[in-house]
C-alpha cells in the first residue's frame, strides 16, 4: 500500500515537472491578528506584486529585516504598489505577543499568524527569515533566505523588474 502510494506520488511528481504553473499560493488557511481565517490561495494585490515574508518575534535577523523593510515600505508602495504580508511563525509561547510587538515596533505590514507552521511547511521554509516575491498572478518570481544588511535593495530591484 505504501509502495503503491509512493509510486503514485512519483508519477504525480514527474507529471508536475512538466507542468505550467498558474499560482504558487498554497491552499492553506491561517489566521490574521483579529483571529479571522485567511486562505492563502486567495491572497492577491489587485494584479500588483506582493511579498510574503516569514519571521518570528524571537528571530533577530527577521526583526532587522522587518525594521529595514518598514523604513522603505511607504516609498515602495508609492512607486510600485507592492504589498507586504508578514507571516509570524510564533507558536503558542508567543502568539499573544505578536500584535503588541508589531504595534510597538510601529510596523505597517499585513501580519498573519502561522502558529503551527502549516504555511511554513507548505511553502518549504526551512529557517526564518525567508522572503518570497510574487507577481500579480501569484507566481513566485524570487525568494531569499537569511538577512544581511541591505538585502532589501535586491528585493526592490526584483520588484522593479515586475513593473516593466
Amino acid at each position: 500500500m505504501k509502495k503503491l502510494f509512493v509510486l503514485l506520488f512519483a508519477v504525480l511528481v514527474v507529471s508536475g515537472l512538466h507542468a505550467q504553473q498558474k499560482s504558487d499560493l498554497p491552499n492553506v488557511t491561517i489566521k490574521d491578528l483579529q483571529g479571522k481565517d485567511v486562505n492563502i490561495a486567495k491572497l492577491s494585490n489587485n494584479g500588483k506584486p506582493f511579498v510574503i515574508t516569514f519571521w518570528a518575534t524571537w528571530c533577530g535577523p527577521c526583526i532587522k529585516e522587518h525594521n529595514a523593510l518598514d523604513e522603505v515600505y511607504q516609498d515602495w508602495k508609492d512607486e510600485t504598489g507592492v504589498k507586504i504580508y508578514s507571516v509570524s511563525i510564533d507558536d503558542s509561547r508567543t502568539t499573544a505577543k505578536v500584535k503588541p510587538f508589531v504595534e510597538g515596533k510601529g510596523w505597517d505590514f499585513e501580519v498573519l499568524l502561522d502558529a503551527n507552521g502549516d504555511l511554513k511547511r507548505a511553502m518549504n521554509v526551512n529557517n526564518p527569515p525567508h522572503t518570497f516575491l510574487f507577481d500579480g498572478s501569484g507566481k513566485i518570481v524570487y525568494q531569499h533566505t537569511g538577512y544581511f544588511d541591505g538585502a532589501e535593495e535586491e528585493l526592490y530591484e526584483e520588484i522593479l523588474k515586475l513593473k516593466k
Binding site: 505504501k2 502510494f5 509512493v6 506520488f9 504525480l12 511528481v13 507529471s15 508536475g16 512538466h18 507542468a19 505550467q20 504553473q21 498558474k22 504558487d24 498554497p26 491552499n27 483579529q34 483571529g35 479571522k36 481565517d37 486562505n39 528571530c59 526583526i63 532587522k64 525594521n67 507558536d91 503558542s92 509561547r93 502568539t95 499573544a96 505577543k97 500584535k99 503588541p100 510587538f101 504595534e103 510597538g104 515596533k105 510601529g106 502558529a115 503551527n116 507552521g117 502549516d118 507548505a122 511553502m123 518549504n124 521554509v125 526551512n126 529557517n127 525567508h130 524570487y142 525568494q143 531569499h144 533566505t145 537569511g146 544581511f148 544588511d149 541591505g150 538585502a151 535593495e153 535586491e154
Partner: protein, 568 residues
C-alpha cells in the same frame, strides 16, 4: 474522440500540477581536543542529519513526503534517531467546506494545552500523528476538526510492536470546535468587539503493561478557550483539565491535571503591552505512560518567558516543568517617535520584559489510611489553585534598546538579570541556582550598499560561583558551575551572497583555572536565493539548544561542520 477528451483533461490536470520541496543536511566531522576534555570520540568521527521533502499540489489536492537520514545522528541528538527512511507521508483534499488528510498529521487545538503535533527538525523532534483528520467548515467562522492516529516514535514501526523500543504507544483521538462570532454573524463583521470561542476533547487509549500499578487504559483531557477583543485591548484565555494519568513523569500519582494560560494586551501604533499568566499542575500528557523527556507528547505547555537568541543570554534557557508551575510575564514594546530628541531621525525602539516562574504549592493528603505527599501509587497531593510556592524556578528581567543612529550605524543593546534554578531545570542534583547579570552590544556599520561589518560583545557575570561545586548524584560526577563568560564576534557580509565571521566564547571566570577555555569558531556562509551553504570550524561549548520552547543538551565538541539548505 474519447482519447481526445481524455488528453484534454489530462492536459488541464497537468497544467495545475505543482511541485515544491526543501532539503537540508547538517554534517559534522569530530576531532579530539584534550583542552576541552574530549579525549575519546567513541568511534564516532562523523555525524550527519539530513532531510528532503517534496510537496505536490493540484488545486484542492495536495500530498507530500519527507525522507530523513541520520547516519549517524549528530552528537546531542537522541540515538533512537539513528536510521534512514520515510519519516512523513500525507495526502490532503480540501475544498474549503471539507478537508480530509490521511497520513502523518500536524495540527494544534487552541494553544496546544491538550493537543499539538509538530516537528522541530533542528532538535530532532517530531510527534506527528499517523492517522486521519477531517476538517469541516459548515459556515463562515465555524471550524470543526477530528483527528485520530498513533504518534511517531523515532523509527518504531506503526503497526507491530517493536520490543527494541519498548513500544506500547497508545492511540490518540481528538475533536475540536471553534466559532468566530465576528466572521459568522453579519452584524458583528465590522464590530469593534471581537469574540471567538473554542473547545476540545482529546483521549488516549494506552495499554497497561505495569506489574505494580493499575494504569487507566483510557485517559481523557478537555479544554475550553475564549478570545475577546475590544478596540486596542485583547484578552485570550484557555483552561485545560485531564483526568488521572499516572506516568513516569509524574511519579505514578493518580491526581488529575490542570492548566490555565491567559493573556491581556494593549496595542496602539508605537506601543504594545502584554501581560501573561500561566498555571500548570500535573499536565504531562503522553501517549505512552513510560515515555520520558520530550517523547510522545500529545500536548504542548508553552513556556511564556522571553526567548533570547544571542549566545550568552540563551545559555540558561527555561523549559516548561509539566508537573507544576506558576508563571507570569510582562512585556512592553515602545518606539520613541521619529523627530523627537530621544527618538532622533529614525525613532528608538525599546523593549522591557519581566518573567518569573515558581513552583505550585503541594499539600499532603489522606490516602490509603496515611498522610502522604507525592507518593507513588497515591492521589499525590492537594494544591490550592492560586497559591504560589517560595521555590523559584526562573526569573528574567531584561531591557533592550534598538536604535538606528545614522544611515550607516545601527546599535542593539540589552541588559538581563537572570535567576535560573539549574537543579530543577537541568536536573543537576544539589547544584545552587545560577544568578547572573548578562549584557550584550550588537553594532552594525554599513560600509556601502553591498558591504557591512557587525560586531557583537557579550558578557555573563555570575554571582556566588565558589559555592557552586557539588557532587551530582544523578550524573555520578562532580558538577561544577562555570562562572563568568565573555563573547566576541566580528562578521563581514557582502550582499547578497557572502558572510564571514569569527567568534570566541571564553569561560574566563571558571573557578577551576584549567577550565578557563576559549571556544573559537570561524564561519563562512554563502546564500543564493533560497539556498544556504555554511561551513564552520572550531569548538562548541557544552550547553542547551532550545527552539520553540523545547530544548536538547549539546555536548562540547571540536571539529568542522557543514550545512546545506535549500528549497524550491
Amino acid at each position: 474522440m474519447i482519447l481526445g477528451t481524455l488528453s484534454l483533461h489530462a492536459q488541464s490536470f497537468l497544467e495545475k500540477s505543482q511541485i515544491s520541496g526543501s532539503f537540508q543536511t547538517d554534517a559534522q566531522y569530530y576531532m579530539l581536543d584534550k583542552d576541552i576534555d574530549i579525549t575519546d570520540l567513541y568511534g564516532k568521527k562523523f555525524g550527519i542529519n539530513g532531510f528532503g521533502k517534496i510537496n505536490y499540489t493540484n488545486g484542492n489536492f495536495s500530498a507530500g513526503l519527507r525522507f530523513e537520514a541520520f547516519l549517524p545522528e549528530l552528537n546531542g541528538f537522541r540515538n533512537e534517531l539513528n536510521g534512514v527512511g520515510l519519516a512523513n507521508i500525507f495526502a490532503t483534499y480540501d475544498n474549503g467546506f471539507i478537508g480530509i488528510t490521511v497520513g502523518d498529521i500536524y495540527d494544534q487545538f487552541g494553544s496546544g494545552l491538550v493537543f499539538r503535533s509538530y516537528e522541530e527538525w533542528s532538535l530532532g523532534m517530531d510527534n506527528s500523528l499517523r492517522g486521519m483528520r477531517v476538517i469541516v467548515r459548515p459556515t463562515a467562522g465555524v471550524t470543526l476538526k477530528g483527528v485520530y492516529g498513533r504518534q511517531r516514535f523515532y523509527w518504531a514501526p506503526y503497526l507491530e510492536r517493536d520490543f527494541n523500543y519498548d513500544d506500547y504507544r497508545g492511540i490518540v483521538r481528538g475533536v475540536d470546535g471553534e466559532w468566530n462570532l465576528n466572521q459568522s454573524i453579519p452584524a458583528m463583521n465590522y464590530s469593534e468587539f471581537k469574540m471567538s470561542i473554542g473547545g476540545s476533547f482529546v483521549s488516549k487509549k494506552q495499554y497497561d503493561q505495569s506489574l505494580f500499578y493499575y494504569i487507566p487504559e483510557n485517559v481523557g483531557a478537555a479544554a475550553g478557550r475564549i478570545n475577546l477583543g475590544y478596540g486596542r485591548f485583547a484578552f485570550t484565555t484557555e483552561y485545560a483539565y485531564k483526568i488521572n494519568d499516572p506516568s513516569a513523569i509524574n511519579n505514578f500519582i493518580y491526581k488529575e491535571g490542570q492548566s490555565l494560560l491567559s493573556s491581556l494586551s494593549y496595542s496602539q501604533k508605537g506601543l504594545g503591552i502584554v501581560l501573561q499568566v500561566k498555571r500548570t499542575d500535573n499536565m504531562s500528557f503522553k501517549s505512552m505512560y513510560t515515555a520520558k523527556q520530550n517523547d510522545l507528547d500529545i500536548n504542548f505547555i508553552p513556556p511564556i518567558n522571553y526567548t533570547h537568541t544571542h549566545s550568552l543570554p540563551s545559555m540558561y534557557t527555561y523549559s516548561t516543568q509539566p508537573n507544576g508551575e506558576m508563571a507570569a510575564q510582562f512585556q512592553v514594546n515602545y518606539t520613541i517617535p521619529k523627530g523627537t530628541w530621544l527618538g532622533g531621525k529614525y525613532g528608538t525602539k525599546l523593549t522591557l520584559n519581566m518573567s518569573q516562574v515558581n513552583d505550585i504549592v503541594r499539600d499532603s493528603i489522606m490516602d490509603q489510611g496515611q498522610m502522604t505527599i507525592n507518593k507513588r501509587g497515591t492521589l499525590g497531593y492537594a494544591s490550592n489553585f492560586f497559591a504560589i510556592s517560595d521555590h523559584r524556578f526562573f526569573r528574567d528581567i531584561n531591557f533592550e534598546i534598538d536604535k538606528k543612529i545614522s544611515r550607516d550605524w545601527h546599535l542593539t543593546a540589552q541588559y538581563i538579570n537572570l535567576y535560573y534554578d539549574i537543579e530543577t531545570i537541568e536536573g543537576h542534583a544539589g547544584a545552587p541556582p545560577v544568578q547572573a547579570n548578562i549584557a550584550f552590544l550588537d553594532v552594525t556599520y554599513k560600509i556601502n550598499k553591498k558591504q557591512s561589518i557587525r560586531l557583537e560583545l557579550q558578557g555573563l557575570w555570575e554571582k556566588e560561583v565558589k559555592k557552586g561545586y557539588v557532587y551530582d548524584e544523578s550524573e555520578k560526577k562532580d558538577y561544577q558551575k562555570r562562572g563568568d563568560w565573555a563573547f566576541g564576534l566580528i562578521e563581514y557580509t557582502i550582499n547578497p551572497h557572502w558572510s564571514f565571521s569569527i567568534a570566541d566564547k571564553w569561560n574566563y571566570g571558571n573557578p577551576v583555572p584549567e577550565f578557563r577555555d576559549h571556544y573559537f569558531t570561524g564561519t563562512v556562509s554563502y546564500i543564493h536565493e533560497a539556498t544556504r551553504i555554511m561551513l564552520s570550524g572550531g569548538r562548541q561549548s557544552e550547553g542547551v539548544v532550545c527552539v520553540g520552547g523545547v530544548c536538547r543538551t549539546v555536548p562540547a565538541s571540536s571539529g568542522v561542520s557543514l550545512t546545506v539548505s535549500t528549497s524550491f
